[in-house]
Every structure is written in C-alpha cells, then in structure tokens.
C-alpha cells in the first residue's frame, strides 16, 4: 500500500504530538502551498528531497490517432520533479539491497 496523506498526518500525531485535526490541516496545507507556488509560476526547492521545476512547452503539431486528423497541441506549462542528491543516493541503496 502506498504512503498517503492520512499516514503522514498519523506520523505528525505520533512523532510530534500534534492533535489529529492539526496534523491533518498541516499535511493538507503543505501540499496546497506547494501547489499554490507552482500555479503561480514559482519553482519549489526542498533541500534534501528535490526540486519541483516548471517547463514551458511550445505549441506543436499533433494528430488524433483514431481519425488521423491534425490537431495542434497548444502551448502549455508542465511540472517536473528533480530528486535531490540525498534522495537519489538513498533510493539507489534500496536497489542494492534487493539484488
């Protein structure tokens, strides 16, 4: 099972002694504020974890694969995640123990 917001809130309750309502509020707000920054065109740098970057893509020609009809793909902005060195090293270590 994947890690979710509920489990993150549980960790704040267990480890920091926040009450359940505060813990849930904090976890919600954490992701909400990262989203607000990105929606506002602001890059988010979380040292030790990674950076959420923004990339602007130009308009390019596309095609409807079913009908073959040409439809231009409009210019858009996308979010990319670049893991930090610390996270990359930790994740690689996991692969090592698996082999």
């Amino acid at each position: 099972m994947a890690l979710t917001k509920a489990e993150l809130a549980e960790a704040l309750f267990d480890e920091l002694g926040l009450n359940k309502r505060e813990a849930k509020e904090l976890v919600d707000l954490f992701f909400e504020e990262i989203k607000n920054a990105l929606a506002d065109g602001t890059q988010v740098k979380l040292s030790g974890f990674g950076n959420f970057d923004l990339r602007d893509k130009n308009r390019r020609p596309g095609r409807n694969p079913k009908t073959g009809e040409e439809i231009p793909i409009s210019a858009r902005r996308v979010v990319t995640f670049r893991p930090g060195q610390k996270l990359k090293t930790r994740v690689e270590a996991y692969a090592g123990t698996r082999e």
């Binding site: 994947a2 904090l26 690689e92």
Partner: protein
Amino acid sequence: MNKITKSELIEVLSGRLGHLPAKDVELAVKTILEQMSNSLSSGRRIEIRGFGSFSLHYRPPRMGRNPKTGESVALSGKYVPHFKPGKDLRERVNDGYQKELERAD
C-alpha cells in the same frame, strides 16, 4: 524564474497556522519529507490525491566510461525516483500559464 525554498515554505505555512508555534511547523515539514524519503527508499510509492504520485523507475545496467581515464566501467542497474503530477496540479499550473500568456498579449 521565481523560487521558494523549504524555509520560505515553512514561513508561509506558519503564517497560515497562527495557532501553532513556528518550531512545530518546521519539525512537521521535516517529518513529512523524511517520511516521504523513507517510503521511496524502501521501494514504496507515495500517492497524494490532487497533487501527484511518486514511484521508482528502474534503470537497467549499462557500460559507462570514466571521463578522466577513458576506461570502460560496468554500471549496475538502479532505481530513480519519479514524480507524476496529479490532475488538479497539472490543471492549476497550466491555467496559471494560460493567464500569463493572455496578459502578455
């Protein structure tokens, strides 16, 4: 590009959570990131609705080269973290961009 760091994010959160001491907010952010790193480094996915999911992608073994000596080295397979933005995040980021483009016109 504008950017915000972890400590600035902690300040923003503290501002919005006036009833909590700033120190608690700082510890909470560190705990959240630590939990997320622990999850990925034990091979476990993260799913945050509306934000996105983090998983591991496998990179197969390959032959690399030592850039100094030119010597070939065998590099073993490894996992790298991967983020897939969720629908709400994708839409909000792109909507913000479309508004910027309109203003620029």
